[in-house]
Symmetry: D2
Subunit: 326 residues, 4 copies
Amino acid sequence: MAFSTLAKNFQVCSRSHAIIFTRASRKASTNVGFIGLGNMGGFMAKNLMNKGHKLVVYDVSKAATEALAKAGATVAKNPADVAAQSGTVVTMLPNNDIVTNVYTGKDGVFEGLQSGSILLDSSTVDPSVPTALEKIANSKGSFFLDTPVSGGVIAAQSGELTFMVGGDKQIFEKAQGVLSGMGKKLVHCGGIGMGQAAKICNNMLLGISMAGVAEAMNLGIRLGLDGKQLMDIINNSTGRCWSSEIYNPVPGLMPNVPSARDYEGGFYSGLIAKDLGLAQGLATRTGSPIPMGALASQIYRLMCKAGLEVRDFSSVYKFIQDGQKI
Amino acid sequence: MAFSTLAKNFQVCSRSHAIIFTRASRKASTNVGFIGLGNMGGFMAKNLMNKGHKLVVYDVSKAATEALAKAGATVAKNPADVAAQSGTVVTMLPNNDIVTNVYTGKDGVFEGLQSGSILLDSSTVDPSVPTALEKIANSKGSFFLDTPVSGGVIAAQSGELTFMVGGDKQIFEKAQGVLSGMGKKLVHCGGIGMGQAAKICNNMLLGISMAGVAEAMNLGIRLGLDGKQLMDIINNSTGRCWSSEIYNPVPGLMPNVPSARDYEGGFYSGLIAKDLGLAQGLATRTGSPIPMGALASQIYRLMCKAGLEVRDFSSVYKFIQDGQKI
Amino acid sequence: MAFSTLAKNFQVCSRSHAIIFTRASRKASTNVGFIGLGNMGGFMAKNLMNKGHKLVVYDVSKAATEALAKAGATVAKNPADVAAQSGTVVTMLPNNDIVTNVYTGKDGVFEGLQSGSILLDSSTVDPSVPTALEKIANSKGSFFLDTPVSGGVIAAQSGELTFMVGGDKQIFEKAQGVLSGMGKKLVHCGGIGMGQAAKICNNMLLGISMAGVAEAMNLGIRLGLDGKQLMDIINNSTGRCWSSEIYNPVPGLMPNVPSARDYEGGFYSGLIAKDLGLAQGLATRTGSPIPMGALASQIYRLMCKAGLEVRDFSSVYKFIQDGQKI
Amino acid sequence: MAFSTLAKNFQVCSRSHAIIFTRASRKASTNVGFIGLGNMGGFMAKNLMNKGHKLVVYDVSKAATEALAKAGATVAKNPADVAAQSGTVVTMLPNNDIVTNVYTGKDGVFEGLQSGSILLDSSTVDPSVPTALEKIANSKGSFFLDTPVSGGVIAAQSGELTFMVGGDKQIFEKAQGVLSGMGKKLVHCGGIGMGQAAKICNNMLLGISMAGVAEAMNLGIRLGLDGKQLMDIINNSTGRCWSSEIYNPVPGLMPNVPSARDYEGGFYSGLIAKDLGLAQGLATRTGSPIPMGALASQIYRLMCKAGLEVRDFSSVYKFIQDGQKI
């Protein structure tokens, strides 16, 4: 191949300083592969289709893939098959082990991977997972970004997710087309794994905040303060935060938030418990003290035991009131 | 006295529905008494003087009273003497016991109290204290509001404190003249004691938030995230809060905050530890679970033991880094 | 009175170094007064009667006093009346305020107090309460010991309570007759208030231990360890403690403990929550960091909200399993 | 080979029900291999030699291997070389990753493993590590037990360690010869990984207990109780535990424990912090709430930041007093 083409095809990955040779002569397919069509993935894939992308999908649930097939997606027989037909692959899976297996296991993405592909994992996992998967992807002439999301099912449905992205900046720019098909805000957080790191750190703080707001509101109300008045005071004081201003956990103070509808839907306690568990592991590994984060982690875990696992995490207000499932 | 005058002088206290007869024929003095001329009180009294009020002051420290005498204040010999010469009395004292003693003890405010006076306690104390003192004040034909402040020494000096006020709304309105001489924002929080309740609840949430931000930032930075980038991400995400947006604890991310100057000045760890201790007592009394607040309380207490008692409370970031005094 | 008699009647109280003049010429009645005939007090009074003491009783509940009247006790009309007829008075009441009121309020013990009486408060209260009451008692020529108990309802019934006693050692010796009528172990802990201090500190540690055992057992069992085997390993290792050896919270491992009977009876979560609340107040007052104690306090409080208030405190094991009331 | 010999050589592993064929015709060497000659391993290897075992050793530190060579041990060039010359191999290594690498990495134990060998890993690691390594060992006709220790450097030196063993019971019995050369108490805890599980659960409880004792003692002493008296009260009450009875953290109450010598030596805060970190990971994986254990984990981590990492963990008493490094 002519040197000019080679030069054009050189990719410098900021993280590793390795030069990745993209075989641009074989153009990556414009198909977008999507693996993991659950509560979030189903809507994300749908939005991509609505934006005009051609989808190749896979999920262990036949019902999930059939729903998308009806809408025009191609159903692949396994992750490798998805990768073989797509130039970009998005994964939206529950945990470290499943993500690792879907990429590296038998019939996994890497088995069918086309050189020059862009892999976008939107699952929330330990940063060590994308770090390891990026190495493998690079060795096969492809690219990997960790692209975890924030915004929940509502934002997944409306296509307004926020993506916190880690990995090579140039690849981030190339991926913006596909990411914009699912989200409204795309934030580049740093090298590979830094999207996960940013999301996990933010969500640890969120978990701490929400529990703090629930405790402060409950205490104030039991002392005789009017709930709405206290909320306004806090929102105009040093205690103000998203959990108090946008997503208040006290029923009756705000419309259109989970506390207004018995904590149905929203961002499940079980999911933030999972994020906080990831935070704990990261903190242990880096020797970072997180007393408040560790306690918040335990509180949401206790809430899962008390039947609030599939209720919005703002149900922590309910939990400290009477500790019982709704 | 004619009935019309009686009627004009009837005060209905919303809390007790008792009718207080103000002997309007003896006009309350326009002098403002000020007891407690420490870090906060000294500036507050000064600002009142600058606004044209005539001050009658008292403090156990002669140096403190002399400084104000030089500026034109009258020095009283004890709290009773202050009360005897003033129509409004402001107190700014360290704790429950001292406040109670200054009002009810020998040579205390109530001994010299002029009927029709307005008593404004700006100390941060348990709501039971103003509740008890209001009863006594009322029985002597006077009025009491709890008026704790927020904004710290900086705001005390610039006259921009926020007052969270509890007590009768009409008295609150009458007191606005004096309060505006020291503060910018006056919030009526409810009946007697509700100013303290609101302040304590807000400060408990603040203590939780700041510790959470310190933990999330420390974890993220140790994972490889750039501090400024992580701060921006959080401030545009669900984790955003005053502690992260206005008063970030990580050195170098924000100018003009304590973290930019080795945590000097600001809002002392010892003071927020005190507020959190009050919160714990209130929570115990009302049976309100405050796991996060209780832990935050212990963290700031440990920080006091580690030599950070007179450093800004955002030094919690330093504490979780190396646990040592600065 | 002759000097020799005066000398014989001089009492030196170690704490105050004051000389108390006991009017030995008027012999203190041998009656034992008992105020507070609840779950614990009822049995304690009964045991005193069985040991041959003549009781003068009072309780707000007529049913409670009638039960003891049937057994031969004299029913007094109020605490002052109890004190007027007794040389020793025992109180067993729920909290600081009630104890203070029964002694110092209208028709309270101090109103009817006979000089030279010994007052034994077996309630669990803040050490500041006996400290204040002892001063008053001494000023009236009487004596006061704080004598909180441990051993629960079972030991109250069988007369095998442990008394942790604070106050003058000589008075402690004089009181042993009455205390032995209700308990088996009498421990002198120090000056006035030190009985309360010792009990509260021990119970804080007990609350921490029991929660720790529940967590370790639950974790081990969920990891695949056999419960009995793990219990034996812990009991022969550095983790061994009373909660694991004598009162294990895991159902099926030990007979005749609350975990063997759905946590019925025993030492209520609500009561240890109260003790831990007292510990928190003491820690705040002395600036003592108690992170583990503060968290344990919150856990038992959450358990009360979850319906475990009147279950044995070892139900913490159940709480971390499914967080729900039994 | 005759069937009788085959039959005699059949091993039934209780956990997997697989039949492992031991090639008894090639007798496993009587040499004992030892990999990891640090603070603990050095003494353990020494004791084995003193008991008459022939040692083949390896460590990344030449100084460590030389010391043992001087005493008569054979120095191998890598873990594979140790395994090739030994019938039993003991490993004593710092963490999950190093253990996994020493066994499965290049030039690792499995590369030189002689069929019929017994592998004893005395490191403290996540139970998933021995579970995975046992599978590999079995597939190569060898055996694996997790044999973590308790007793610290003192017991390592005196040959009085306690081994908490997980794995096949018959292999446990075969291994007793070698284990007794290093320890006094050998406890079979269950199947593979259960030694680790038991140790981690016990040590989590120990960490909680010690922190609780430090808090209760500190609070009591600051309330005015005599330290020795409070210790005796607790040790005869429901709060009694090993940390209070055998290893009291308060200086001056007990001789010959770390608190009597500025917390030198003993069981390092950094090591119990590591165990508690393992506990957190296990709890997250099994969804087991461990609020007290999580907080204890954070406290010891904060202590490591404060310079107490290589002091005995009972220095938590010092930490809550003045938070500073000794």
